[in-house]
Symmetry: C3
Subunit: 671 residues, 3 copies
């Protein structure tokens, strides 16, 4: 942990509050503020007229009080004069209407007109601030992506066609890639192709490419600004605040963070999702940028908007969990609750009236505790993570674009929860690169995409001793979502020792009283049974099962019902020094998946513990062990580590955690 | 009660039915008909060509049968030839499309083109009918307001800008009023400002002013027609039929009725809301026009549209309740069920086939009973109302425009129900005027608006001996919805003896499994306890609690949970001869609020009785007491009044009411 | 049964698969394929450039393997080049936006531009294929109707006005027909009339005519293509595949099939509706074309889309049920699951990978069983059907267009279910034609339309000995939905011996706590009681009851509650050699309706049996009896027929059916 900060809006509160606020910030423990991401109208009230006085005074005041600044480009909110002058840069909806001024993110991400104005404001900001020593770095825009909907303007139409030309060269190439022969989907000339969506499941191959094009457009939007900043501040740190609890499927964040920016940043509010998702978000964003901790660029102290805030102990548990998962920055949104505007009830550290209140006292207490340990925390290694979950945005896109996505998805959370609740540290694995051998187990959940290069990377990993556990679909479709014309799994049939000639979705059900509306139909499970390490294993498969024939694989369990009775449900195939396990079930209960996961962990020689109490987590960073109770009731956890109790209470190998309690242990050094 | 009437459509049924219908009207007890509010196409089939014969014959036929006429301007349904000639007068939706002919209220209320045509038809009608002795008065249009949606046309855009110029003088004034500093909300030139709504909570200050502008536009639409009518009939009564069960937040009806028109009129269908709302609607509309009873210009005998009609006894109970609450007119919609058109199943007094049926017989019985007592009823004083509920549309607008309105509101019904069910008569108090001292208790529920003049009016009232009971929010925001930059309640801190530094919404809740969708989150209550008049008092606060510090006030109860434990929940501050009570809880159970209300009533020396059986009401008009059972089961009520039993049965101080039964007592005159 | 087939897409799979596929088709038992209904882009890749090679090769390959071809016009999916050149032929939505290429049915059905292109492709196909001996016939387009929404383009606007001119001659005629006097609905010139719908219940007379106009436009769309095909192939069979489980209210299928095409075809998927609906669909489509069996042009073997498929036995039960109800063709959608496109998960007989799998084996088994009996099946007479249900699309339109349709409808299923579950064979009766005397009982359910000619046809039928059972509304409105200005039932008062002066909808209910939203209101039933054939009869009426006065009819039961207590609920009137029965109840329980139906069947001397187990059916075709168990549990049915057991097991007059089991018996010939 290096940064304790908050978002600050001097353009709103005025410069006369600067010293009052900075002094209170120091009191509460803040060392960094983020400023200016929505300030365009107060930086440039007319084209080419800059009013930067307040910005300079703000940076200087922070400098006087020893506070660093994460400076932002204000491009999330182009000012009224700009959009009134250039309505063609406004986001255009599918029905042809355009967004208007008054919200945020009301612009088209591909608009060249807008780019020209971005260049001017960004260059001016970078030029004018280049000599300040307390600039920590830059944030581009704010929460990039289609928050206000997708844009369908002429620029996006042309951009999509240009992208297709680059990818497929010709119309014939598009038709071939999209396999357009059904329903007269063939195209004959470029202008016939449009970026538009009728509804999910229509023209899925086109929809998948639209998602790819738009994701790339956002990454390009970011790198364009990065390059503009670097013209004036060549070595400055540049990032952007993204989102995901844990997934944000609209942007490929491997490309955004690992390939394009300097640090991975997440805006995460822990009251909007189960706690396991918050933990997974940390692990995912840490994985997005190799070799360094991630930043939490926004999190709440009041609950999001006008909800109920966390208790003081709960906020503390959130923060220690972040540290346990490797977060290097903890920035609260926001310093003071704004008096007006859309988010006027989204509570900051200070009340509307500017007085310190309950939330101020909570933050102060927790930040002091963290700061006290900061030198030690900064010396810790990255969190232990012997297991990786494969995370390929392309598989998500296949589900997002087609009707199967109503039934199953590539969400890693079912797998993550079974690991998190067993005290096993997790990282996420990017597709297309070699899989490190320190990963003992690689989990792949519902990966319909068949990719030859990835298949060889998996084989290399397994041959070197790795274990791959596949849950659900595997290798059924090409990159455009087209199903394979041969049995699957594509490029992996021999490796996994199984042929897959199809599968069966279990939604609906053709009973004599089945209703018309899909959402009302019964999701009928199919039974399965077998033996794992000598112990009987049985349960129910939901949503999808594979139609498998084992060629060389060992069958660990079979389906027991109906058409697929007797066919493999769970298989094992050794390859080199490792093995492939395939549990061909789309969705199942957490208990059943837990049995599968424990079997795989054991085979992969990963230490795991019986399921922890709900919402209690254990994480390891080198010799430090963090035990955190995210539940509102007291919990006891056995913890046989001899060493120093950094925090909490441990007695006779057990730590008793009060509600939202935290225990930290440091194991004795090996002598 | 002066008027027993119905809506009548001679333009639809033809003049040959006039005498048949009028004779049946007399038989059923009708003395007044409303005509012509949708008749434009049959009054002026081409521009400047008038076909008024049927209208003259209709008024004359009614005159022959001793029936008065409430004549209407037909502006709710401009004819097809007019909207086809001037499509620019059609209501324009936010997406730019316009309504078409075929519904009603398909016009823009600010269109100057439409005004010109309104002047012609209104003048012609007023000129041609000015000598009829049986014209009771005029109704303007029909149910003014955005029934068909809001209009966003160029005229409304310009109208909104002009309205802002008048209110704020300059763009800088707008920016200051709307506190535009967050999200680059600043404006630089008038054309950048648009009348449009993205969704609730976006640019709330702009949205509040849009609601004000539109409300004023409707009032202006009414006064324009009033003035046109008065040019030809200078002394005629002019009104319009508004709505509300009890609230209709789109138009400020204090301005509409008290300031602009001659009598307050409500269209109320008692099958669409709980009965307490129907009672409150009477009290509210009576309050809208000082010094005279209100009119029920529409009510149902069949249920609204094609629903099940009330039983005969139920219709009778509705009518006697209206009389108990001071209604002076009871007009049924409509004489006969129309054979065609959108409302072709909305049942009138006669069947489709024109025959008297069950509904005819019910109306006849009940109207005869009322007419028999009419001389006595007309001599009764207004309903007793020792308690007033403060009703400020601006506080509603604050909630309508911002996201807090998803959690709490300024609906008077929670307070009204506790009073109605305790036999306490209620009036409503308009803001901005002196509060009469005959009001013993003034109840203010969730009044976020801080207004200096109103604060002084409250203080004057309290100093003179009044009791003010505040429930929920008080004085937190300015007229544009901006929160105060100092502790609240604005302009009342010393008077109430309490500082409010903020508050906490209780929706959401930051539990470890809190879901994403706000509507799915748990609304966690906060406990409170104290002592009222020596009796323990405890319960749960929901939705919102205030962050209060008592300076000089007495604390009657405190919160017991979490961050706000020990802080005041209910306070009392004496001032002059009266007192302020503040129960700083947004929402709570009816039982808990009932305890608070009983405490306040007792302090204010208002007589109340223990809670009545559900849907039984007691109302007083001078020496008359009305006991009405709106439930479908028999009820007994203790009623210790010696005097004449006007209706129903009383034995040994108890009246036993059959289902939908009515008892009326006249207390002996003081000897 | 004459045809066992499937849909086949050689334009998608390529000609190299033709022989492989045809050989597998023969193996599975297929004798007919449907081709080309979506193939336009591969038949005509540019205007006037035809690429028919694959089509010729496909037809020839099928010929080689002894497989017939149902050839389709490809007009459901105009290609991208065509719609890009002529955007004015694209379907235009009510908001003015147009559909784009990428879905199907993206065209306007009245577009003359599109017609011109249709003529070219249709003529070319008919010309080039006219000499193939294995062309079974033609299918026009695919599932005609507003699948993608209604079109509101200028062509449709003008088409609607022209249609009105033809029907009503003048604007005055329109105003009179639509009874426009309420709400200034009068029209003054043609351009004021638009084809547009604000929402249900607005301008219902216009809406009814819009539905008629659009239905006729679709029939005209079909006959236009029929005539083009016949220019080149004068004697070829022409049809189209329609839909309905059992109703498809957007097109008048009596007109489509009986008047315009050669055979009645249904696309029916038995997993999307209760089994009784599937049975009714067979009977309805069989009735649409007199004198010949209907075709099932599409049905599923996988469940619709990506749902769970039926079990093998269930598919078999579906098929034998179709035969029992008279189906002459059974065509599976589709040969092989497509790899791409919107329906890429809609499973065909073959898997994605082209391998025979579970579904192939199921179809093969069942088709072999059917083919084995085919000579006998082809010799069977049509299904026995002594009872007819009256099916008048105009009554549906009245409900579709007005708000009453939220409460009741003209769906025949409540009546059908009581007959189907009692082993009574059903046909459907077209309005406007003489009713055959071999129909013993004619059931009419909720027929609000009053039509003089139809009334006389009913009287003729009754006088000749027929029994008419009316359930619910009868003869209340004219063809434009206008209610009668005299008591009803229109043109039948004397025949039925009852006057109806109105009625009461039972939705809503005017209780003291009735809520605002109609869908939340209680649907309060009304009691009724009487005696049928000496046995007490009682129950509850829902949704609607008639306000009846018996003039000459015998009253069998009366209402017992509230306003209508003592009035007739069920009446009987003899006329000539037959009788009218009227059960004036909109909706009631299946038990109560069953009692009414059994009474009517007995009077009409139709044999019926006590209610069968749920989802078990018995159907008769001459001397053959089919007993089919559509439930997932075993069932026993008494079946006293001496003769040959064609299929299944019968012992001591009882057949024990396994889950989805089928028993077929052939009665001994009379000696």
């Amino acid at each position: 942990m290096h940064i304790l900060g908050c978002a600050y809006y001097p353009e709103y509160w005025g410069v006369e509050r600067l010293d009052t606020d900075a002094a209170l910030m120091r009191e509460v423990g803040i060392d960094t503020v983020r400023i200016a991401e929505f300030a365009w109208s107060r930086l440039e009230p007319a084209e080419g007229t800059f009013t930067f006085d307040w910005l300079h005074q703000s940076i200087q005041a922070m400098q006087r009080h020893g506070i660093r600044v994460l400076l932002c480009t204000p491009t999330a909110t182009p000012p009224a004069w700009l959009v009134h002058k250039h309505p063609e840069m406004l986001l255009q909806r599918e029905d042809g209407t355009r967004m208007r001024h008054g919200m945020r993110r009301h612009y088209c991400p591909t608009s060249l007109v807008y780019r020209r104005h971005i260049e001017r404001i960004t260059a001016e900001m970078a030029k004018q601030t280049k000599d300040y020593p307390n600039i920590l770095g830059w944030q581009i825009d704010n929460e990039l992506g289609p928050e206000s909907g997708r844009c369908y303007c002429d620029s996006c139409q042309q951009g999509f066609r240009d992208w297709l030309k680059t990818r497929y060269s010709s119309i014939a190439g598009v038709n071939q890639a999209w396999a357009t022969g059904f329903w007269s989907e063939d195209y004959f000339d470029w202008p016939e192709i449009r970026f538009h969506i009728e509804r999910r499941g229509v023209a899925p191959s086109r929809a998948i490419d639209m998602l790819r094009f738009q994701s790339e457009a956002w990454v390009n939007f970011a790198t364009h600004q990065r390059d503009e900043i670097r013209r004036w501040q060549p070595k400055v740190l540049v990032t952007t605040n993204s989102m995901g609890m844990p997934l944000y499927p609209d942007i490929d964040q491997w490309s955004l963070f690992e390939d394009s920016l300097d640090v991975s940043c997440n805006d995460a509010y822990f009251d909007i999702a189960p706690m396991a998702n918050g933990a997974a978000a940390h692990d995912l964003f840490r994985s997005y940028k190799s070799g360094r901790g991630h930043w939490l660029t926004e999190t709440g102290i009041g609950a999001l908007d006008h909800g109920r805030p966390p208790t003081a102990d709960q906020f503390r548990a959130w923060m220690w969990s972040g540290i346990a998962h490797g977060a290097d920055a903890w920035m609260i949104f926001r310093w003071r609750t704004c008096l007006s505007g859309q988010e006027q009830e989204l509570q900051g550290i200070l009340e509307h009236c500017g007085h310190p209140g309950h939330r101020f006292r909570t933050v102060k207490t927790v930040f002091q505790e963290v700061r006290h340990l900061m030198p030690e925390l900064q010396a810790l290694p990255a969190p232990d993570a012997p297991v990786a979950i494969f995370h390929d945005l392309d598989s998500h896109r296949l589900y997002m674009a087609s009707r199967t996505g109503q039934d199953i998805d590539a969400d890693p959370m079912p797998a993550y929860r079974t690991l998190w609740s067993r005290g096993v540290g997790v990282r996420f694995q990017r597709p297309g690169i070699a899989i490190p051998t320190e990963i003992r187990l690689l989990v792949i959940r519902n990966q319909p995409l068949a990719d030859e290069r990835q298949a060889r990377l998996l084989d290399d990993y397994v041959r070197s001793g790795g274990t791959v556990l596949v849950i659900g679909q595997l290798g059924m479709r090409d990159a455009n979502g087209t199903y394979l014309a041969d049995p699957g799994p594509g490029f992996l049939r021999e490796s996994v020792g199984v042929d897959c000639v199809g599968g069966m979705f279990l939604n609906g059900g053709a009973g004599p009283n089945s209703g018309l509306a899909p959402e009302l139909r019964e999701h009928t499970p199919v039974g399965l049974s077998g033996t794992l390490d000598g112990i009987p294993f049985a349960g129910k498969a939901e949503r999808w099962i594979g139609d498998l024939q084992a060629t060389t694989a060992t069958v660990l369990a079979t389906f027991t019902d109906e058409a697929y009775a007797g066919q493999p449900a769970f298989t094992e195939q050794r390859l080199g020094r490792g093995r492939y396990l395939w549990f061909a079930v789309g969705v199942c209960s957490e208990d059943l998946l837990g049995r599968v996961m424990e079997f795989a962990l054991t085979k992969a020689e990963v230490t795991w513990r019986p399921r922890l109490p709900e919402n209690v987590e254990i994480q390891y960073r080198g010799r430090w062990t963090f035990v955190i109770n995210h539940s509102s009731t007291a919990q006891s956890v056995a913890i046989n580590i001899s060493g120093r109790v950094v925090m909490g209470h441990v007695h006779a190998g057990v730590t008793n955690l009060p509600p939202y309690g935290v225990t930290i242990l440091e194991q004795e050094s090996p002598t």
